[in-house]
């Protein structure tokens, strides 16, 4: 492993261990995508081969069949304490992408997670977000508090200087911990290759198209690509000008504005 990947991994492992030491009831979110699978692997390495944390998969019911197959296979192979979070009530009432992306994501993803956090009383969650994914994520911290409504006050965050991750003094519902915040998409693929990590087949090109970011089937579209191996994906990433989440139908500008207007006190 080159020095860059060693540095990235060391910091991530240190963050995961710090989180385990600081919080009583920590869990890790796993979408089965490359980032969260790499994060699970880092959790395994942090605790010498076992993951002593519940692994949460939020199941909207609208994911690709390949995601469910991958989830069930890896869960068995890695002996995961897998918890599947679903908002059954919303599903029964007919919530689906037809009701609008934001309403659907809110009910089937956000509310499903909120309900689980309340039920299991998690005080911290490990998430595999990265700063280079989107402008708003660039503002994130490694330790990022949320209130009960999942609101994030990004204008009032600790500085995290000298690798000191201090819990904020005010009340918060739970802490988000982001151990691969400092990684790039290219770093993740290079790490996946180096560690020989299992990869969802949707990432590899078929008929000139591949998925670069995985979400729910109705709201995710593939990008044109000929990359059918990890080496080819790495090669593609060094030249592409297409943003990673271009295939995700969520409206990021809208999300940014909503967050900004909240911070300004409009909502």
């Amino acid at each position: 492993m080159d020095d860059h990947l060693i540095d990235l991994e060391r910091r991530s492992i240190s963050l995961i261990r710090e989180a385990k030491a600081q919080f009583k009831n920590l869990a890790v979110l796993w979408s089965t995508g490359k980032d969260s699978t790499a994060t699970l692997w880092l959790c395994k390495k942090s605790f010498f081969g076992e993951i002593p944390l519940p692994v949460i998969h939020i199941d909207t019911g609208y994911k690709f069949p390949e995601i469910y197959e991958f989830r069930d296979r890896i869960s068995k192979e890695w002996n995961l304490d897998l918890i599947i979070a679903r908002n059954e009530e919303a599903t029964k009432k007919g919530m689906s992408p037809k009701n609008g992306k934001l309403a659907c994501c809110t009910q089937l993803k956000t509310e499903a997670l909120k309900n689980l956090i309340r039920k299991e009383e998690y005080d911290a969650l490990i998430l595999a977000i990265r700063r280079d994914e989107h402008g708003i994520r660039a503002k994130e911290r490694y330790f990022s508090p949320r209130d009960e409504e999942f609101h994030w006050r990004y204008t009032d965050q600790p500085a995290e200087l000298w690798d000191l991750y201090v819990k904020p003094s005010e009340d918060f519902s739970h802490m988000r911990v982001h151990p691969i915040l400092h990684w790039t998409e290219l770093d993740v693929w290079q790490y996946v290759k180096h560690e020989g990590l299992p990869t969802n087949p949707l990432y590899f090109a078929k008929d000139g198209m591949r998925y670069r970011s995985l979400g729910c089937k109705p709201c995710t579209v593939p990008i044109p690509s000929k990359a059918s191996t990890i080496d080819e994906i790495v090669e593609e990433l060094t030249t592409t000008e297409i943003p990673e989440r271009a295939g995700r139908a969520q409206d990021k500008e809208r999300a940014y504005m909503m967050q900004k207007l909240r911070s300004l006190g409009y909502m």
Binding site: L102, T155, R254, Y256, M257, K260, L261, L264, Y266
Partner: protein, 235 residues
């Protein structure tokens, strides 16, 4: 004196749409470097008092925040009227309705076609109050949130923003036609595009029909300028 307080009026848009009456004799940007966030209530409170009010106005309760007249420049004038001014005489019901619809928009329970008419209706109400009071007070300060409220959901849509700036330009023209008193046009912050949406920018706008000789002033600098006008120290 007449103060046209135009929320989110932006220098780039004023020049883009060649709004000569908004530009007046002297115009330019204000700097918000001393503020952490471009919060409307904070910035208007700071304009009224001549000091940075950011530490005194919490986000959660900002819309209820009210200054007493003696904390502002208004009593420098014998008679004064402030129409719908945040932190002072805000028409709470109107703005609460705009914010309610804004939230509903982001909750996907309302669309922009429901929101825009409410903003325009509130604007027309303020316009009526404002032009109805000109000439009756030593200072009239009229606040209009049209550029801000429409801009937040539609700043990237030129056809909508052009209509907003034409409206504000026509108002400035009417003020100029009806009065040769001191006229100050001032905004709290500007606006920048985020796709179709509009976000607060870090510079406000000012213009005056007299030469002030300002260079990137702070919004708090106008307190002393207005005091000088009230005392007759300014021509």
């Amino acid at each position: 004196m007449i103060i046209l307080a135009l929320d989110a009026l932006d220098l780039n848009m004023v020049t883009k749409y060649k709004c000569k009456n908004l530009m007046q004799n002297e115009y330019g940007q204000t700097s918000l470097a001393e503020f952490e966030l471009e919060r409307t209530v904070v910035l208007w409170a700071s304009f009224l008092t001549g000091k940075n009010m950011e530490p005194e106005i919490p986000v959660k309760t900002q819309w209820e925040f009210k200054l007493r007249p003696e904390q502002t420049f208004l009593p420098f004038f014998k008679t004064h009227l402030a129409i719908d001014v945040p932190a002072f005489s805000l028409k709470e019901k109107n703005h609460a309705e705009e914010r309610r619809l804004l939230k509903k928009y982001f909750d996907e329970e309302a669309n922009v076609e429901e929101y825009d008419p409410v903003v325009w209706e509130n604007h027309e109400e303020n316009k009526k109050d404002f032009f109805g009071s000109l000439g009756q007070y030593d200072v009239v300060m009229g606040y209009f949130d049209l550029a801000d409220a429409i801009g937040h959901l539609s700043f990237g849509l030129p056809e909508k923003m052009e209509k907003v700036y034409i409206e504000l330009e026509q108002m400035a023209q009417e003020v100029k036609t009806r009065s040769d008193d001191h006229i100050l046009v001032i905004s709290d912050h500007g606006m920048k595009p985020v796709g179709r949406y509009g976000d607060h920018s870090r510079n406000g706008f000012y213009s005056a029909n007299r030469t002030l000789g300002l260079n990137l002033p702070k919004i708090t600098d106008f307190y002393n300028i207005i005091r000088a006008v009230a005392k007759g120290e300014s021509s």
